[in-house]
């Protein structure tokens, strides 16, 4: 292990939006104040987003609405943007991602954009680190990852957690940029709702989606978990996105364009 040839690397971790969020930067200036201040801005913005969108906070904008759909005529621009994205997500997923009738923390069902807000907020907040030349970013928000690398730098190596053995990796994917998002029942039980049946979705143990944008990788992963058995066929139709899926029986399958090793292994069977 030749550490001398590797660029300096530094991590910051904060609990925000109810999640552990870690920012890793590689590059020459990671120990300088200006870089640290930018990272602080990322965390601060995630906190601000949470104050608006958290359905766990009665005083947030969404909390005050209590599950009602925000009125586009009066809602503030960020809320309007998220409502629009939720509608786009519903269309793109054939209705399998549907923020309109979800179980709310306080009981009952209603509008809850949380499944989309995380990816949207992380992508948005990461702009504070966008204009750092020669620096690579690996931002992990509760298991969903956003990546960037400067030209000529090695790709980040992202381990895909084995849902049944969180200390083990199911696969490793190398990504220079884009996103890796995972949804499933492994950590929090059956918390993803099948919007058609209105019941918790349990057919998919874990699904990891790789692609250019975190917001969509996350939405597609959530939709796939809700969709169940035929989710992999649907994931294979998504342009620019690839997926690895573990079903409830423990069977692992990947879309043909999956960048890890699993597809290769399956082919040689």
């Amino acid at each position: 292990m030749n550490l001398a040839t590797e660029p300096d690397r530094r991590a910051w971790v904060m609990q925000v939006m109810g999640l552990p969020v870690s920012v890793h930067l590689r590059g020459p200036w990671v120990r300088t104040d200006p870089v640290a201040e930018r990272v602080e801005r990322v965390f601060a913005e995630l906190g601000e987003v949470d104050a608006v969108f958290s359905t766990y906070r009665p005083e947030s904008v969404l909390g005050r609405l209590g599950g009602a759909l925000p009125d586009p005529a009066t809602a503030e621009p960020v809320v309007r943007e998220v409502v629009g994205l939720c509608e786009l997500a519903r269309i793109r997923t054939d209705g399998w991602f549907d923020a309109r009738r979800l179980p709310l923390p306080g009981g009952g069902t209603g509008f809850d954009p949380s499944g989309l807000v995380k990816g949207w907020a992380v992508e948005r907040a990461a702009r504070h680190l966008a204009d750092l030349p020669d620096h690579d970013l690996c931002l992990n928000a509760g298991g969903d990852v956003l990546l960037r690398t400067a030209p000529g730098r090695p790709a980040w190596r992202v381990g895909v957690e084995d849902p049944d053995h969180p200390e083990r990796m199911l696969d490793v994917v190398e990504r220079a940029g884009g996103a890796v998002a995972t949804s499933g029942t492994a950590r929090r039980g059956a918390h993803i709702v099948d919007p058609r049946a209105g019941r918790p979705a349990e057919a998919v143990r874990s699904v990891t989606v790789v692609g250019p944008e975190l917001l969509w990788a996350d939405v597609y992963a959530t939709a796939a978990a809700a969709r169940g058995a035929d989710a992999l066929d649907w994931l294979a139709t998504l342009d620019g996105y690839a997926a690895l899926l573990v079903d409830a029986a423990g069977r692992v399958r990947a879309t043909p364009n999956w960048p890890g090793t699993w597809a290769t292994h399956t082919c040689t069977a």
């Binding site: 109810g18 552990p20 992990n140 980040w156 990796m169 995972t182």
Partner: protein, 152 residues
């Protein structure tokens, strides 16, 4: 030592991957995937006891023998040799024998296993994607270990 810990974990994962794949062809009703290199704790402990202050890389080494894993073909046990913080060899110390299926694992799976494990010394991971980690679960997560290694 964090780094060694992490890539050894990755190595274990690769071994698991290989045997899980083999057993997965039996379908959902089959036996669960077998661990070929034993528990990660046992694997980590030995090479982690040495340090490398001279720069020669020879100090952090040793061999680790995994526990016996039950594969669909029978018991398999591997020994990993670590030298200079890298896996330099993987040997199957116990493999099934006696029938055609066993010859297949000896002739095919063991060399693949060895190759995979040797390749895994570069399998060090930077981050983990998994189902949403809660604040409670973070402390025990592999991600927290990766973060801790770079927080300084």
């Amino acid at each position: 030592m964090r780094r060694i810990t992490l890539w050894l974990l990755s190595t274990v994962a690769v071994l698991v991957l290989l045997f899980s794949y083999k057993t997965s062809t039996m379908g959902p009703g089959g036996e669960s995937g077998a661990v070929a290199a034993g528990g990660s704790d046992g694997v980590v402990a030995n090479p982690g006891s040495a340090t490398d202050s001279s720069g020669s890389g020879s100090a952090s080494g040793g061999t680790v023998t995994g526990s016996v894993a039950q594969t669909r073909w029978g018991p398999v046990q591997v020994r990993i040799t670590v030298s200079g913080g890298k896996i330099t060899d993987v040997q199957a110390v116990r493999v099934p024998d006696g029938n055609r299926r066993d010859q297949e694992i000896n002739g095919y799976a063991v060399p693949v296993l060895r190759q995979e494990a040797l390749a895994a010394q570069s399998a060090q991971i930077d981050t983990v994607s998994g189902a949403t980690v809660t604040s409670d679960g973070y402390r025990e997560s592999l991600q927290s270990a990766i973060d801790a290694a770079h927080l300084n």
